[in-house]
C-alpha cells in the first residue's frame, strides 16, 4: 500500500494534480460566485438581451436571449452538472461494488451467470431507455440520478469482480475463513476495504461518463428543466443564437469541455499510478 501511495504522489505531480486543482477551484467558484453577483439565474431583463461579455460591465459572461445573466447561469449549470454527476456516480458505485463483490466472491456458476448478464447488458443502447424513462415519467433530478446511475455500473462491476477474485485467494482471507469468520464479515472487513483504491480510480472515470449522459439529456431538452439549468441545456440554448451571439454557446461549451478533460486526466493519471502496466502502454 505504501508503494501505491508514493506512486500516486509521483503521478499526481504530473497531469493529475493540476486537473484536480482546477476541478476543486471550479466547484468552489460555482458554489460561491452566484452569491456575489447582483443577478439571479432566472430573472429576465428584456432591455439587456444578448449583451456581449465585457470586463467593465456586471455581466461578466454577457446575457442570453432572455437577458438572463450568463455568468450566474453558467455557474448554476456547473453546480447542477457536478451534482448530478457525483450523485449518479455514487449510485453506480453502490450497484457496481455490490454486484461485483457478490459475483467475484461466490465464483463458479453464479459468477458466470452474473457476468453473462453484464455482457448482455453491455450490448444494449441504454441511453435510449433513459430517454424512454424521461419521456414517460415526470422529469426530476431524482429520476436522473437513478437512471444515469443504473446504466453506468457495468464497468465498475467488472473491475470490482476481477479484484475480488484476486483478493479472495489471499492468505489472510483464507486464514479468516479457517478460523470461522462468517462470509458476510469477511466481505465487509477484508475484501471491501482492499477494493477502495481501484474503486476510487474508476469513480473518477465514471464521473465524466455521468456528466456526458446528463448533458446529453439536457441538451435534447429531456434532462434538467427550466428555469433550472445545466451545462448541456446552456449549450443547447447557445446553438440557437450562435450566429449573432457566439459567447452564449462558447462559454458553457468551453466550461463543459474543461470539466470533462480535467476529470479524464485525473482518472487517467490515477489509473496509471495504481496500475503501472496500463501506464507503460
Amino acid at each position: 500500500m505504501n508503494a501505491v501511495r508514493s506512486s500516486v504522489l509521483r503521478q499526481a505531480r504530473r497531469g493529475g494534480a493540476p486537473s484536480g486543482a482546477i476541478l476543486l477551484l471550479l466547484a468552489l467558484v460555482a458554489i460561491i460566485a452566484p452569491f456575489a453577483s447582483p443577478y439571479s439565474f432566472h430573472a429576465t431583463d428584456f432591455d439587456a438581451r444578448l449583451v456581449a461579455p465585457a470586463l467593465g460591465s456586471q455581466h461578466y459572461f454577457g446575457t442570453d436571449d432572455l437577458g438572463r445573466d450568463l455568468f450566474v447561469r453558467t455557474m448554476m449549470g456547473v453546480r447542477i452538472t457536478l451534482l448530478v454527476a457525483l450523485v449518479a456516480s455514487l449510485v453506480s458505485l453502490v450497484i457496481g461494488v455490490v454486484y461485483g463483490t457478490v459475483a467475484g466472491f461466490l465464483g463458479g456458476r453464479v459468477d458466470a451467470l452474473m457476468m453473462r448478464v453484464v455482457d448482455a447488458l453491455y450490448a444494449l443502447p441504454f441511453i435510449f431507455f433513459v430517454i424512454l424513462l424521461m419521456v414517460t415519467f415526470e422529469r426530476s433530478l431524482l429520476l436522473m440520478f437513478v437512471a444515469i446511475g443504473a446504466i453506468n455500473w457495468l464497468d465498475m462491476a467488472r473491475i470490482v469482480r476481477g479484484q475480488t477474485l484476486a483478493l479472495k485467494e489471499r492468505e489472510y482471507v483464507e486464514a479468516a475463513r479457517l478460523i470461522g469468520v462468517p462470509t458476510r464479515r469477511i466481505i465487509l472487513r477484508h475484501i471491501t476495504p482492499n477494493l477502495l483504491g481501484v474503486v476510487v480510480v474508476y469513480l473518477t472515470l465514471a464521473v465524466p461518463q455521468a456528466i456526458l449522459i446528463e448533458s446529453f439529456l439536457s441538451f435534447l431538452g429531456l434532462g434538467v428543466q427550466e428555469p433550472r439549468t445545466s451545462l448541456g441545456a446552456l449549450v443547447n440554448g447557445g446553438v440557437a443564437h450562435m450566429e449573432q451571439a457566439p459567447w452564449v454557446l462558447l462559454i458553457p461549451a468551453g466550461m463543459l469541455a474543461l470539466i470533462l478533460l480535467a476529470f479524464n486526466f485525473l482518472g487517467d493519471g490515477l489509473r496509471d499510478a495504481l496500475d503501472p502496466r496500463a501506464a507503460r502502454r
Binding site: F128, L132, F137, L212, S215, L220, L249, L260, F263, R281
Partner: protein, 312 residues
C-alpha cells in the same frame, strides 16, 4: 467439421440474442405503459365519452397482456402500431422514411473513423513519445472528452458561419456538401477511440518476438507494419466495433438535431418531446434491434478472424 463448427457457432449466437431482444421489447413496452397519465392528457379536458372512444380505438382499454400480445404480433409482421401524434401515419412508415438517411450518415462516419483512426494510431505508435505521438494522443483525448454536441456547433460556427465554406444546416445546402460537417462531427469521437486502441495494440504487437525476427531479417519498417503488424494489431479493434456502432447511433440523435437532418434521430427527439409514446417505443426497439444484430455480426466476424474464440 470446421464448417459445421462455424455454422453452429453462428446459430448459437443468433439464438442467444433472441431472449435479449425479447426482454428489450417487454421492458420498453412496460415502461411506456407504466407511465403516469395517458398519452392524450392535454390541458383541455375532453368529455369522458370521447376519452373512452379514443382509448378504445387505440385498444388502451384492453388488459395489459392483451395489449402486449397485439403489439408483439404486429411487430412480427413489421407493424409498430399507429403514431399517437401523427394520426394519419403508422410508426413503421415514419421510421421507414427516416431510416435510410441515418444509415447512410452512420455508415460513412464509421468508415471515416476506421480509416483515420487506424492510420492515426499506427502513426502515433511508430513515432512513440515524439511530437507526432504527443499531438495525436492529445487530440484523441480531447475527442473522447469533449461531447459531440459541443464539437458539432463549434464546427458549424467555424466552417459555416465564419468561413462560409459549408452549409450549417441540411436545408441550407444541397448535394454532398451538406453531408460533410455532420459526418465529421459524428466520426470525431470514434476516430479518437479507434486511434487510442490502435496505438495501444500496435505498440504491443511491435514489441513482440515475431516483429523482432522480421526486423532482424532486415525488412524495412513500412513492410513490417503492412505485412506483419497491422493484422494482429487490428484484432482488438474488431471487438470495439460493437460499442462504436452504439456510439454513432447515440451521436446521430444529437447531430441530426443540430444540423436539422430529417433522419431517425430527429424523429426520435421530436417524438420524445411530443410524448408520442408509440413512436418513441418503436424507435427504441429499432435501435436496440440494430445494435444487437450488428453486435452479433461483429461476434461472428471475430470468431472468423480468431478461431481460438470458437473453441470456447
Amino acid at each position: 467439421m470446421h464448417r459445421t463448427g462455424a455454422i453452429s457457432f453462428a446459430l448459437m449466437r443468433l439464438l442467444s440474442a433472441m431472449p435479449t431482444l425479447f426482454s428489450v421489447i417487454v421492458v420498453a413496452f412496460l415502461m411506456v405503459h407504466a407511465a403516469p397519465g395517458g398519452p392524450f392528457d392535454d390541458e383541455r379536458r375532453l368529455p369522458p365519452e370521447i376519452e373512452h372512444n379514443i382509448a378504445a380505438s387505440y385498444h388502451l382499454d384492453e388488459p395489459l397482456p392483451a395489449q402486449f400480445w397485439r403489439y408483439f404480433s404486429g411487430l412480427l409482421s413489421g407493424d409498430l402500431g399507429p403514431s399517437y401524434r401523427y394520426p394519419d401515419y403508422r410508426v413503421a412508415e415514419l421510421i421507414g422514411d427516416a431510416l435510410p438517411l441515418s444509415m447512410r450518415l452512420g455508415a460513412v462516419a464509421m468508415l471515416l473513423a476506421l480509416v483515420l483512426g487506424v492510420s492515426g494510431g499506427t502513426a502515433a505508435a511508430l513515432h512513440r513519445d515524439r511530437l507526432t505521438d504527443r499531438l495525436l494522443t492529445g487530440v484523441a483525448m480531447s475527442g473522447i472528452s469533449v461531447p459531440v454536441f459541443v464539437i458539432a456547433p463549434l464546427l458549424a460556427l467555424l466552417f459555416a458561419v465564419h468561413l462560409g465554406w459549408l452549409p450549417a444546416s441540411w436545408t441550407g445546402g444541397s448535394g454532398l456538401s451538406r453531408y460533410v460537417l455532420p459526418v465529421i462531427a459524428l466520426a470525431l469521437p470514434q476516430i479518437a477511440y479507434v486511434l487510442r486502441l490502435t496505438r495501444a495494440s500496435m505498440l504491443e504487437v511491435l514489441g513482440s518476438d515475431f516483429i523482432r525476427t522480421a526486423r532482424a531479417q532486415g525488412l524495412c519498417r513500412a513492410s513490417i507494419v503492412r505485412h506483419h503488424a497491422l493484422k494482429p494489431a487490428m484484432l482488438p479493434l474488431v471487438s470495439y466495433l460493437g460499442p462504436a456502432i452504439a456510439g454513432i447511433l447515440t451521436g446521430s440523435v444529437v447531430i441530426e438535431q443540430i444540423f436539422g437532418i430529417p433522419g431517425l434521430g430527429q424523429l426520435f427527439v421530436r417524438g420524445a418531446l411530443n410524448r408520442d409514446y408509440t413512436l418513441v417505443l418503436g424507435i427504441v426497439i429499432v435501435f436496440a434491434t440494430l445494435v444487437i444484430l450488428l453486435n452479433l455480426l461483429v461476434d461472428l466476424l471475430y470468431g472468423w478472424l480468431d478461431p481460438r474464440i470458437r473453441r470456447q
